[in-house]
């Protein structure tokens, strides 16, 4: 990205689901603009025909034995949840009127 097309910070913050203050938006817009400029050398790189690397030593089809194991109880699983009731996480209403 170059200066003529700056990162749309509101759009990206929404994608990342992070609420930002106006001050943060200004700071990140500038800092991330600098970082993206620094990344530009990637765009100049010749990568035709190069296979991407996702993992240095990829392993495929790693299966576990198909047998049941003892998991957490609901109480244990919910111990770190900010709000819970009747063995369930409490969240605000999700379905709109």
């Amino acid at each position: 990205m170059s200066e003529d097309a700056p990162m749309d910070i509101d759009y990206v913050a929404n994608l990342a689901r992070i609420e930002l203050s106006d001050e943060e938006k200004t700071t990140y817009q500038r800092q991330l603009g600098d970082v993206l400029k620094y990344f530009e050398k990637l765009q100049e790189l010749e990568v035709d025909g190069v296979e991407p690397t996702a993992h240095a030593f990829p392993r495929h089809n790693v299966w576990d034995k198909d047998e049941s194991k003892q998991g957490f109880s609901a109480t244990e699983a919910l111990k770190n949840a900010p709000q819970s009731r009747q063995d369930q996480v409490v969240v605000p209403k999700v379905i709109e009127e």
Binding site: E24, Y28, F39, P52, A56, F57, F72, P82, V94
Partner: protein
Amino acid sequence: MSPDSPIFKTATELSADLTAGKISSVELTRAMIERVETVDEKVHAFLHLDQEDALAQAKASDERRSKGECLSPLDGIPVGLKDVISVKDQPLTAASKILENYRSPYDATVTVKLKEAGAVVAGRLNLDEFAMGSSTENSAYGPTRNPWDLERVPGGSSGGSSAAVAAREVPLSLGSDTGGSIRQPASLCGVVGMKPTYGMVSRYGLAAFASSLDQIGPFSTTVEDAALLLETISGHDPLDSTSFPKDIPSYSGELKNPAQPGVIGLPKEFFGPGMDDEVRAKVDQTIEHYRSLGYQTKEVSLPSTDLSIPVYYVIATAEASSNLARYDGIRYTSRSERAQNAIDVYAKSRGEGFGSEVKRRCLLGAYGLSSGYYDAYYLRAQKARTLIRQDFERVFKEVDAVLTPTAPTPAFKFGEKSEDPISMYLSDIYTISTNLAGLPGISVPCGFTQSGLPVGMQLIGQAFEESKLLNIAHAYDRDHLYGRQAPNL
């Protein structure tokens, strides 16, 4: 503190003392707790220390020993953990506000292995929030200070783990390394730190940052101790699908049979501008020492080196933005009180709970993965990652290890780089490519600057050849033992 105090001994020495009955694990653990109480006010390496739990583990070790049972050479020896590694019923904050009250419901695999070896798993060590940073300034609970100069950073992200060992608060600790987060703080604090080959140590129970790069590894004052801790935590784990099935030799045992001196590669791209003069001088002396031991040195080329920082920050932030989606205000500890609807729960909880570097990286990662930019950033970075990996493959046809400085400068001052993300990112320039290629790397102390700051050198080895790498590192370390010098605190 008396120089005879057990806190100044290596784990290998302590293990012998425990076996000989010269000290008990309870005495050792008490000495460690006293040391933490004396110096940690200044250093702030610890986020939490459950003294009662540590002493109970020590007592159990002594009881085993009195019955003639000893689980391993680490039985009864305290090991501190970076606060991203789960220990059942203990806190795990990842130095983030969003996990302030979290308690781990289970043990990480490395924790299980340490407990099975009889080690006293004690202390939660400070870090940059979610392991994102190179100075430990990004901790929501305040920075750790470098034990050699309290005005300076200990490096990061595992700055608590390196400082705790340097300050002799624990003989051993574990950290995690995604782009240099073990080796760079080890270098800045004057201790040994090692990142194993990707897949050698299970990541199960490690709070994930960038899953294709993260590895857990040891901190110690000598290479010998690092070998001891590494052999304890390594090995295939069915709970981590990226864990590699490999037999783990006794690394510490193999150090006793030194290999014939081999060939050490010196990558010309790493010795260019940007390196501090005193760092260069110490690394040059290290190279000379290897030559005097009969090693051949050879200039090699890793032409894709200048791509490593942009490639790393595209890949690591992309993986982080996806991994950190789990901190959603629903399942883990903190939720914004201002949340009115579902989107609010996510956005406001994360806005309040994450620190600035974590936000910066999640934003960057989301951007790099977003529609229209994925091919230009993420896919392109993965292709460049292949080129970096191939550079090393080519070089390792000619050499046994690659030697570089660990960090371009000694420890820097607080605030010096925290406002400029790129200058902070550049402090990992020598360590990052190792993670991208999945290779093992170790930082070994190689002297001090005129003002008394430690300098570290890095050795990079072939994949899964930890034994060879440790052997080469040990050949230097046993002749110098810079890591055994303790700071005045």
